[in-house]
Symmetry: C2
Subunit: 476 residues, 2 copies
Amino acid sequence: MKKIDVPILKNIVGEENISTDPADLFIYGSDSSVHSARPWVVVRPGDTQQVQQIMAYANQEKIPVVTRGGGSGMCGQTVPVQGGITLDMKRMNKILEINAPDVFCRVQPGVVDDDLNKALSPFGVFYPPTPASSRIATIGGEIGNNASGVRSVKYGATRDSVLGLKVVLADGSLVTLGARTRVEATGYQVHKLMVGSEGTLGVVVEATLSFVPIPKFRCLGMANFDRLEDAGTAIADIMASGVVPSMLELVDSVAIKAVNKTMDLGLPEVEAVLLYEADGMVKEAVDYEINTMQEVCKNNGGTGLTSSYDAKERAKIFLGRKKLFPALSKFSDALSSTSLADDMAVPYSKMAETAKMIHEIAARNNIIMTAYGHCGSGCMHTKILMAPNRQDQWESAKRAVAEIYEYVRSVKGTTSAEHGIGISKASAFKAEKNDSLKLMINMKKAFDPNNILNPGKLMDAHEDWVTATDLRYTVA
Amino acid sequence: MKKIDVPILKNIVGEENISTDPADLFIYGSDSSVHSARPWVVVRPGDTQQVQQIMAYANQEKIPVVTRGGGSGMCGQTVPVQGGITLDMKRMNKILEINAPDVFCRVQPGVVDDDLNKALSPFGVFYPPTPASSRIATIGGEIGNNASGVRSVKYGATRDSVLGLKVVLADGSLVTLGARTRVEATGYQVHKLMVGSEGTLGVVVEATLSFVPIPKFRCLGMANFDRLEDAGTAIADIMASGVVPSMLELVDSVAIKAVNKTMDLGLPEVEAVLLYEADGMVKEAVDYEINTMQEVCKNNGGTGLTSSYDAKERAKIFLGRKKLFPALSKFSDALSSTSLADDMAVPYSKMAETAKMIHEIAARNNIIMTAYGHCGSGCMHTKILMAPNRQDQWESAKRAVAEIYEYVRSVKGTTSAEHGIGISKASAFKAEKNDSLKLMINMKKAFDPNNILNPGKLMDAHEDWVTATDLRYTVA
């Protein structure tokens, strides 16, 4: 272990914002993934200058630095595989400016997604990238992973909303990237590169974000499909219909069963459910879009079609989808819901085939997997239900993950849609980006010559996630 | 001059695709800017392998390579300031795939923008980034500059439509970047960085682009403003109204006079004209958007309000804007219309002030300048009307350009909205990106250690455009 001088860090942020307490190190060593490791020290900076001082010190001493927001990452991005400093950014949680006439806001990275939207709401606008974890996910973490969420089909991902960034580089210097305007063509757009770089290129200390008007009308519809393939064709047909849904979600039979089992919603146990939403300022336009999608569903064998503009009714329709995660967790006492092949993106026409393939691969490997996702943006998610205390189940899961990403590459999909690479997807990432890894390694060196920023991730990652870190679940 | 072995290049692309003819070198040494220089040889590759071979040779011999599309760049991006090879990409002009169900197409870089849209149209979709030069601009050139155009306010810029790229790097190796899906979070998004890098990081040989449905309804409106400030307030109010226009254009009094003088359109000689368009699948929604914008214009003193859904009527309303360039060129026999402070982006609330400032700065420096632009995306353009055979007018223009960009920085605008940096904006670029230049230089080295890709541009550019190159206009 390299030497770390805790008093120097205390001097920068104050004693109360440092911890080496084993309980803290344990918590800060885990996120929402299966992975776990320990930082040597947790540091909670309060402003940009402190971040600069910490980075200058870490760079001089070549100490690893892992930047962390809400800790809701699903694949181990903030797990400090080489120890070092974990930089908890949650104290830097100020909304610095909401500029309605110029359609941007400036925020610190520790602002929680939902809090930003609460603050924007009186201006009649919202910040569209909204992961399911928006109650705890921070803007900084969302930038690190290029988070997107259910409305990405219409409003894009985090990268589309980031106009500019202030970033502390590995050596402690501060750079201002991007602009405040809708378009920019002023040389290298480094701020866009920072989005999705998983803390390996710099520490974001301020973000300039765009926002969009809150639509006056939102209508949510649902359709059941006896055959997964038919839901898949419906997805492709909707995306080719000229309609831009504000949401298009697929829920598979495993998820439906889990929800029914734990919540008693009485959902029909079909192969697939599609949820589709349209939004806008004019009801006639939303009507047209909902009707078009409903028609497509009907033409592809969709049944039990329902839709509503009413907020309460919409919440009821969405309840099953919303409660998917807890339902999967409670599915069985013996089985845990784990994120491993947690997300991927595939072309629309391959959505149903991908879900089917996931089920087949799971069955072949003696585990249970669910497939669901934001299909309108090509995004597919899974959860693995497995017995975490059985070594053979981990081996099965490992095989299944490898097979799934091999399939994804074969249909020209990509390893991550919105959860990032972290630890669990490193091997698939390397296989997919095989021909540009050398370039990315050179880029990383240009930003961080001492490799102190989140080392052991992306190009630098161990390809075997089982041996890369401890696992949060005890193996007997 | 470094040694160049023309027979080696002939061997790669064939004799008919090489030229060292002085007339060709002159033409290929100029673009739509005031700048000029000579390449040593023009090479027209026909496929990716040839590009790889050319780059491998150039890299070995450290010969500069400038990639060129339609030659419609406005600030000298493709002017080969250090000589070398000009790589004319126009032979690589195949549309490789139009995949309607999966909402992407794959094209070679030499495809002309209008040709792509002609090919997409039978599928009911269009590729939104459309610069005024779309009849000659190539997709590769648009990627190099992050081009956008009149509809960027609603549909974004080139970067927003680029899902993936194949790129030949400086050493001749080929990398596949990005994906084919609406969202992606698979490590560094290098394809987005390539967009706007002005040929300094690699040679694009294939692009995967997204497209959007052609709206069923388009309505274009116009309003006249006696006071520029009022048009400015109308722009900001429209952008804050919840409406997303598909076009929002400002035309200033200088431009109106030029159009009237050369075309006899009888436009009212007010201080500003706003053109606003809405589009969509449902007429009620388009009505609502047009009415909202019209109401905003009226409330801000707009007069002569008119609007139409009819294609012919719309063309008539747009005619003055469309013919702006030729009108400015023919404004006076003694004056040429030149692009120097050709574009910039500023916050919406500063639009009118910027236009006014441009007029003031021009008057102070004894030249005439027009201000117009795609205000809905914060984009402002100018043309300088000046006597190009007078040294003092060049000196005046130089001063005016410096003053304009100093003003742009003071209101937190950015040096380029969509035309890029090239030669004429290099000094402003360096001043704006002062704190990240070192980082960008390191990034460039990571991509191109021998600095052969478009050397002498961006961070590497001479800050004085008058001395950086020959000028296309003869100074007496």
